[in-house]
């Protein structure tokens, strides 16, 4: 971690957390999607939310992003209790969310995507128009500042790789002054190298002083960059740790279900391997 991030961390802990959730619950009818979840996000820190499918990660992200409102508990932004009515309000309060699949509009050029929803204009009245030169220039320089070296800002963003698209969305959030960046499974669909690239930009955003919420089901990725880890399981908290308190092995074990994992490995060791898997002889003669 760089010196600036440490400074940010210390300053962040003295001030109120950027976002603090305390015992937050959410119900869809009689289904408990989330219950009693607490989480803190500080400036210059990355809070990782880990959980398996159906653990309530996306419900949590939707509450922070303003798509849903929580039913119980408190949601504070910079010490002020709040309920967000819309994604627009979340954006105005400095919370930018980057979704895995809907981060960008694929057919639009990179520079149009970069400024989508917050386009700068020049001129007045009927001649009010997009400041196209500035948009192109800013896109190029902002991406470069984040370390994204783009060939051509005019190409449709759909022609970029998944990792690059995530990076553009992150750079966009940083440029528009987000204080909190919420990332929904940014590395889920990516290969090893691409994931590394994205994590590098996540770290860059942290170093720029943002508080980051990283949602993931990959403890290895989380442990690389995270400062705090919140584990979710079936809609409830399964643990909350600072990085200094927990090692990767333990995090992986808890994430995968702790004792359940032991049980599983035990079963796998003992279980007789089927003779035929998918029409081919596998396993029986292998070892």
């Amino acid at each position: 971690m760089s010196a600036s991030a440490k400074a940010g961390q210390e300053a962040g802990q003295e001030a109120a957390a950027l976002v603090r959730l305390t015992d937050v619950s959410k119900f869809y009818g009689n289904i408990r999607a989330l219950e009693g979840v607490s989480l803190e996000v500080h400036a210059g820190e990355i809070t990782c939310v880990l959980g398996d499918n159906g653990a309530g990660k996306s419900t949590l992200i939707k509450i922070i992003a303003g798509l849903h409102q929580h039913d119980a508990g408190t949601f504070e932004i910079e010490g002020e209790e709040t309920k967000l009515a819309s994604p627009r309000e979340a954006l105005d309060r400095g919370i930018a969310t980057v979704y895995q699949d809907l981060a960008v509009v694929p057919l639009m050029p990179v520079w149009r995507n970069f400024f989508l929803g917050s386009e700068p204009t020049k001129g007045a009245g009927p001649f009010k128009r997009l400041d196209v030169e500035r948009m192109r220039e800013t896109t190029r320089s902002e991406l470069l500042r984040m370390g994204i070296d783009l060939r051509d800002v005019d190409q449709p963003i759909g022609t970029l790789s998944g990792g690059e698209r995530q990076c553009v969305a992150i750079a966009r959030a940083v440029h528009f002054g987000a204080k909190v960046l919420v990332l929904d499974e940014p590395t889920a669909a990516l290969g090893v190298k691409q994931s590394g690239v994205v994590l590098k930009y996540v770290a860059a955003a942290r170093d720029a002083g943002l508080g980051v919420v990283l949602i993931t089901h990959n403890p290895h990725h989380a442990y690389l960059v995270g400062d705090r880890f919140v584990l979710l399981k079936r809609g409830a908290m399964a643990g909350s740790h600072a990085k200094s308190e927990i090692a990767l092995d333990e995090l992986t074990r808890q994430m995968a279900g702790g004792s359940e994992l032991d049980q599983l490995s035990h079963e796998l060791e003992r279980a007789p391997v089927p003779d035929v898997i998918g029409g081919k002889h596998v396993g029986s003669g292998g070892e």
């Binding site: 954006l91 809907l102 057919l107 009010k128 470069l144 500042r145 984040m146 860059a204 720029a208």
Partner: protein, 350 residues
């Protein structure tokens, strides 16, 4: 704020940035397929129809193009925004009927009817957009319903009020001459007869192109068609944009409707059915993607021009006009295939 160590700010040009030739850039334009098609159709009729190249023929072709083109512009915008409007054809007739009947029944100045018609037509457009954004049903179904309802209302009300299927003439009423001058006049430039609708058409194409490429709203139109959820997540007013697009269709239906009324002074209540498909065809030939998020207003104009050339060219070639529909279908298929091919080439060879 410290700059991340990973930012190699470089002044040297990027070695991966291969210079894209102007031809390549041209290939990336949505309207290219339509322009190639238009050139082919033009050359074709120049050979098979002797009178096709005369100035008077050109003005006839342009007039036919403009009547479709005026509506193809907003229909193209709507399609870029990801939606359809099947009620666009009969909405033109509705607009003309409201204008005509209001003026006649109230014995008001024709301009009063024109104004009332504008409000009524915009209300229909708002209805389409509002119901669509509230119910989240496919726009195909909602505007199909509007199409049927308007068709029924057009016939029903006209028979109820005037006793026949057409309206009473408003040709002798106050304000008719000036309204005709605005919506249905024609003038001569260099020996060529020019219909005023051509000016409306070109004006609308220019305005729509400006809005699409150089304003925030244009950015939003591309975004709501290409990825509504992504657009909503970054704060684009998706609902308002779509309702606005439906009202743009209504506005242009009003212009077309007034032209329809002023060029004859009576309106047949059954007109307009089937035209909505012509508008969509012009937009698609012009490079609009059926799935939204891609297309251009200029393309729709070229599409409308192809329509005009084909419909009149067949007459000049002295063929049976029955062949026109076949020709139109073949054009649609070819243009769409060409568009898909060009787009693939342009993207692959980047």
């Amino acid at each position: 704020m410290s700059a991340p160590a990973t930012a190699p700010v470089q002044d040297a040009p990027d070695e991966r940035l291969v210079h894209r030739s102007y031809l390549r850039r041209l290939l990336g334009r949505p309207e290219l397929g339509a322009v190639v098609g238009a050139a082919a159709v033009f050359v074709f009729f120049s050979f098979v129809a002797d009178s096709f190249l005369q100035a008077s023929s050109l003005s006839t072709v342009l007039y036919a193009s403009s009547t479709i083109g005026i509506m193809a512009v907003p229909v193209a915008l709507l399609m870029i925004g990801g939606e359809f409007d099947l009620s666009a054809g009969v909405m033109v007739t509705t607009s003309a009927l409201v204008s005509s009947m209001f003026s006649y029944q109230m014995t008001a100045n024709v301009w009063v009817g024109v104004g009332v018609s504008l409000l009524a037509t915009l209300a229909v457009g708002f209805f389409n957009g509002f119901v669509f954004t509230r119910t989240k049903l496919p726009s195909f179904i909602i505007t199909l319903a509007t199409f049927l309802m308007l068709t029924g209302l057009n016939l029903g009300f006209t028979k109820l009020i005037s006793g026949t299927v057409s309206t009473k003439t408003i040709g002798d009423m106050e304000g008719f001459e000036s309204a005709r001058a605005v919506f249905a006049s024609h003038f001569t430039i260099g020996g060529v007869d020019v219909q005023v609708t051509i000016l409306w058409w070109l004006g609308l194409v220019a305005l729509a192109t400006w809005v699409l490429l150089r304003t925030r709203v244009g950015n939003w139109i591309f975004a709501v068609g290409g990825g509504a959820d992504a657009a909503r997540a970054v704060g684009v007013p998706v609902r308002r944009t779509k309702i606005g697009l439906y009202m743009a269709v209504a506005f242009c239906a009003w212009i077309s409707g007034q032209h329809l009324l002023m060029s004859y002074d009576v309106v047949q209540s059954g007109e307009g059915v089937g035209n909505e498909l012509l508008y969509i065809i012009a937009a698609v030939i012009g490079g609009c993607l059926m799935t939204g998020g891609y297309g251009s207003a200029i393309g729709s104009a070229v599409g409308a021009f192809i329509f005009g050339m084909a419909s009149k060219g067949i007459v000049y070639a002295q063929w049976n006009p029955d062949w026109f529909k076949f020709f139109l279908g073949a054009m649609l298929l070819l243009a769409t295939l060409l568009n898909a091919w060009v787009r693939k080439r342009a993207e692959a060879s980047k």
